[in-house]
Amino acid sequence: MSAPRRNPVLAPNRATIPPARRSRVATEMSAWAAAGVFALQTCGECEAVQYPPRDVCRNCLSPRLRWRPADGAGALLATTRLHYPYELYFRERAPWRTGIVRLAAGVSVTAFLHPDLGEAPAPAFVTARLDRAGQAALIALPDETANFEVTPMREFTASPKGRKILVTDAASPAGIAMVKAMCAAGAATVWAGRAEPWGVVPGYEEAIAHPAVTVLPLDVTDGDSVTSLAGRIGGRTDIVVNTATYHRPGRALGAMGVESARAEMETTYFGLLRLARAFGPALAARAAEGPNHAVAFVNLFSITALVASPAKATHSAAEAAAYAFAQGMRADMRASGLRVVNVFPGPVDEGWNQLDLPPKIAPDALARATVKALETGVEDVFPDPVARQWYARWRDDPAAFARELAEAGA
């Protein structure tokens, strides 16, 4: 099922976004929501839960407020339906239903209402999702399993369903898994990029046999290849999933040559840069075009993008470069409401990580986690136990964690 084509006589629908301005501490709440967590501040001294976000405890004035995952259970106290919001983003999608939910934690929150949640009074479950400005939005649901593939809840997702998706390197284990997962999630089209037509990669033929899949030539290390493909499908692409990466295990003072390290950079960092510049503007231009508008650019990184692994020093450097660039992408794509989804797995269970100790995440699990991130609108994805542990320690104290890894030599 594909959406009807835009009438070329009509003006294109430009993307608008909800109000993005937040205080610094409220932005912290968004950072948690970006990782899929509804967090509220809790006082480190008196345990009082706080909302809206603040700088000192409303009860004891302590500055020691800590973000903690919040219990979303609460009671819906009141509802309204807004017919004439001022902001263009809301006006274009009016009416909006909002309500006040009293959380069991003792704070009242204003939230968007899921269409299956009726009038007050009613039990409700509050969750935090990113809105199209990339900021945390609280949403009251009838229960935790509520369907987001409905209006207006889909605004808070980047769902692959019905969308046209480019998987940049479909011939890697992760790429194959990604093609299959996107098809299974209901993608209208999956363009499977392949750099080299020769050779047979196990599982590849099966993945591209799906009727939604079309194989297209794409070599991210070749600028002409990238711009040529962007000219062909850039104006139709809704999601780019960049699986193109190149890595060889090598320590900082190891035997690996500079050429290998350069090849890592060429694919992982410069490849991303080429893709972003070739596809980004077209994605942004189509970010409000119909129900299956352009919505996301997915980067398949590694947790070593955040903190370097001494055992993979050159790989970490390329990942860090690409991640740094992705932060710039996120800032530039925000104005059109596009999400930059960064996936940070621990070691993936594939050939170049043979010597990594388990647990390693299977490519299929990695792809499923990516689909789930798109479906739930998460921007920072930590799909496996190693990734989650590294992320937790990095959040807690990045400087200490870097020293810890250096001392462990891992």
Binding site: P18, P19, R21, R22, S23, A26, Y51, P52, P53, R54, R58, L77, A78, T79, T80, R81, L82, H83, Y84, P85, Y86, E87, F90, A94, W96, T98, G99, I100, R102, S108, V109, T110, A111, F112, A120, P121, D131, A133, Q135, A137
Partner: protein, 386 residues
Amino acid sequence: MRRLGYEGVVVAAPVSVPYARFSTRTAHAFLGELLRTILARTGLAKARIDGLCVASFSLAPDSAVALTEHFGISARWVDHLPFGGASAILALHRAARAVQAGDAEIVACIAGDTNDPDAFRRSTAAFSRFGQDAAYPYGASGTNATVALLTDHYMRTYGVEAEDLGRICVAQRANAGPYPNALLRSAMTMEDYLASRPVAEPLRLFDCVMPCAGAEGFIVTTRETAEREGLPYANLLAVMERHNAYPDDPIQMRGGWAEGRDDLYAQAGMTPAAIDFAELYDDYPVVVAMQLEDLGFCDKGEAKAFLRAHDLTTAGSFPVNTCGGQLSAGQAGAAGGFLGIVEAVRQLTDTAEGAAVPKADIGLVTGFGMINYDRGLTAGAAILAR
């Protein structure tokens, strides 16, 4: 400790600068016209104004002190009040104490705002930090969304019907009919009210004030000065203000009036039964209904019955917002909260510009403001008498 009363403090020179839906003039221009009119009507020389109290949303980057230079006033007491709809009561409160203490003799309390077509969106987007972080990103446009939620909860809790709140709007429109400065003066029936389009359910168009440009002001001085200058005045009997009352209420069902009213009536030496007319802050009818309860005219949840039993028009059994209030006159930004005091003093000095209340000896005036996140934080009230 018993609070000091306001013996000898009076309010005079009530002035409304005509409203306009939109204006190309600045807040400074409206405030300047207001002050000029106050001086012209009182015959006071500008140099006699030694205290200045200002409220405005659209004066940025200026504040009250900048106006002393702009207007050429050498004040010895100045205050700038960013309290929205409660600014007038707070201005009266502060000016009264200044006059009483001799810190100033004649304080001009002035409020004014301009309005352009996008001004309201801009001012609400960054009204407060909590609002910016936790209300505005949810489609709130001004206070409509927040008050819609309070209204929904209030109506549901007390079984209030749309017609009950409509009585307030319909009566105030009738009061606005003879008041030339009201922007909305054409007759409105209950059918008209009920048929008005939904804005933020359950709020209808006629539940919401119309933002506009304009100015309102008065002077606070001593009875001796007022009499010496031949100024008609109203006596100030009592004032209360309360901020962030009942913070543990899950949703607002009452304002700080409920906490401060005993003190207010005690200071005035009277009960609610003595009030002849009330200028109740009316950004939305539910706020009027809550005040009827919180200020002791009926019990909590009984405003519905009170409204069914009373006629709120100027000639009625309980006159409320006797020149139409903000719901019919328009809400001229920070001046909206000043309309109540201005109108009350006009009624008490027999200078009503619309219909006069037949027996207007004691008037109650209120203010309400600062929807910082999910409720109005500041409630104020004053009792004025001949």
